[in-house]
Symmetry: C2
Subunit: 205 residues, 2 copies
C-alpha cells in the first residue's frame, strides 16, 4: 500500500490552464491536455460509457484506477465534480474530502462514498489508508491539495502524464514545495504519441 498521485500536465507543468472559474474548472485550453484521457477505453468504462481507445495509454489509466483503494481530494475539486459524477461516480472506492464544514457521509452507487474530513490532511490520509483494503491511496487533487501532500512528504509515487501542449499559465503542480527538494527515483517512462507517462518515487532521506 502506497500513496500515489497521478496528474495530467502540459509540457510547461500546468494541470489547469488560465482563467479557472466554476464554469471553466480546467481553465482555458485544458481540453487539449485531457482529450487523450477522455478517449481511453478504461476512462470511459469508469464513466459508464461505451467504446474508446484501447492501447498503452488506456492500460496505464486502468492500472492507476484498479490500483486505487481509496481517494483523497480537496473540497473545491469535490464541489466542481459532484454534479458531473452524479449518482454512480467513477471512483468505486471511499473518497475522503478535505473540508472545514462537517457533513454526513454520502453513499453512492458502485462502491463510491464521500466522507468529509475536517481534521486535516494527515487524518484524511490515515482514514483513507485504513479504508483502502491493501490497495493504494490516490491523492486526486486539486492543485492545492496535491501540493500540501507533496510538501508534507506524504506521497510515495507521482505519475505525470505529460501532454505536448503549452498552456502558458494556470495552476502548476510544482509550486511552493519547499521541503521536497532533492532527487527522485525514476520508476518508469512510457512514451506514446499522445503523452509521456513518467512515474517517480520519492526517496526517503
Amino acid at each position: 500500500m502506497i500513496v500515489t498521485a497521478d496528474f495530467v500536465v502540459s509540457l510547461d507543468g500546468y494541470l489547469a490552464g488560465p482563467g479557472i472559474a466554476p464554469d471553466n474548472p480546467g481553465g482555458d485550453g485544458a481540453e487539449a491536455i485531457f482529450a487523450w484521457l477522455h478517449d481511453c477505453a478504461s476512462w470511459r468504462e469508469r464513466q459508464g460509457l461505451e467504446g474508446g481507445v484501447e492501447g498503452p495509454d488506456s492500460e496505464i489509466v486502468r492500472e492507476w484506477f484498479d490500483g486505487t483503494g481509496a481517494v483523497v481530494m480537496g473540497r473545491t475539486m469535490y464541489e466542481l465534480g459532484a454534479e458531473f459524477w452524479g449518482e454512480d461516480p467513477p471512483f468505486r472506492t471511499p473518497v475522503f474530502v478535505l473540508t472545514n464544514r462537517p457533513q454526513e457521509t454520502l453513499v453512492k452507487k458502485g462502491g463510491t462514498s464521500f466522507v468529509f474530513v475536517t481534521d486535516g490532511i494527515h487524518s484524511a490520509l490515515d482514514r483513507a489508508k485504513a479504508a483502502a483494503g491493501g490497495r493504494d491511496v490516490d491523492i486526486a487533487g486539486g492543485a492545492d491539495t496535491v501540493r500540501q501532500y507533496l510538501a508534507a512528504g506524504l506521497i510515495d509515487e507521482l505519475q505525470l502524464h505529460v501532454v505536448p501542449v503549452l498552456l502558458g499559465g494556470g495552476l502548476r503542480i510544482f509550486d511552493g514545495l519547499g521541503a521536497v527538494k532533492g532527487p527522485l527515483e525514476k520508476v518508469r517512462v512510457v512514451d506514446t504519441p499522445l503523452a509521456t507517462h513518467v512515474k517517480y518515487r520519492f526517496t526517503k532521506g
Copy 2:
C-alpha cells in the same frame, strides 16, 4: 537548417536553482541536474578533457554539439562563462552575444569567435543563420534569452533533458511565454537512467 534550443531542466522545470549569483551561476542544487552532462564523454571532449561515459546520453549531447553551426547567447551567460571557457571554448563555431554595449569580435582557438550584436534578437539570429554553414543555430541561453526567442516563435525544435530532481525554485524555462501557447509535435523521447530526453517541434499555426 533549423533553430534549436537544448536545456537541462529539473522535473519541476527549472534550468537554474534558487540563489543565483555571480559566484553561483547555476543556483543552489544545480550540480545535481548537470552531473550527468559533465560525465558525458562528448561533453568532456569539447572541454578538452579525457574520459567520461559513452552511451545514449553522451550520443544525444554529441548529436546536439555536432549539429550546431552557430550559437546565440545572452550577455549574462557570456560574462558568467567567459573565464571558464578560456582561450579554447567548447563551441567551435561563431557565437553571437546579445548586448547593449558594442565590442570588437573576439576570435578564440578551435573555431570559436564571440560576435557582439547590439541590434536585437532577430538580427543576432539572422547573422547566426548566415554563419552556420547549413548546420543548426542553437539558442544557448540564459533563461531570459531563450524565453525571448520562444515568445517570438523563433525556435523550431526544443530538446529538454529532464533530470529526476526537484529544485523547488529558481529560473524556469517556461515563464511569461504568452503567444507560444498551443500544441507541439513530439519528435523523440529517449529515456535513460540519468535523464529523459524529450524533443519537440513547434508547429507553425
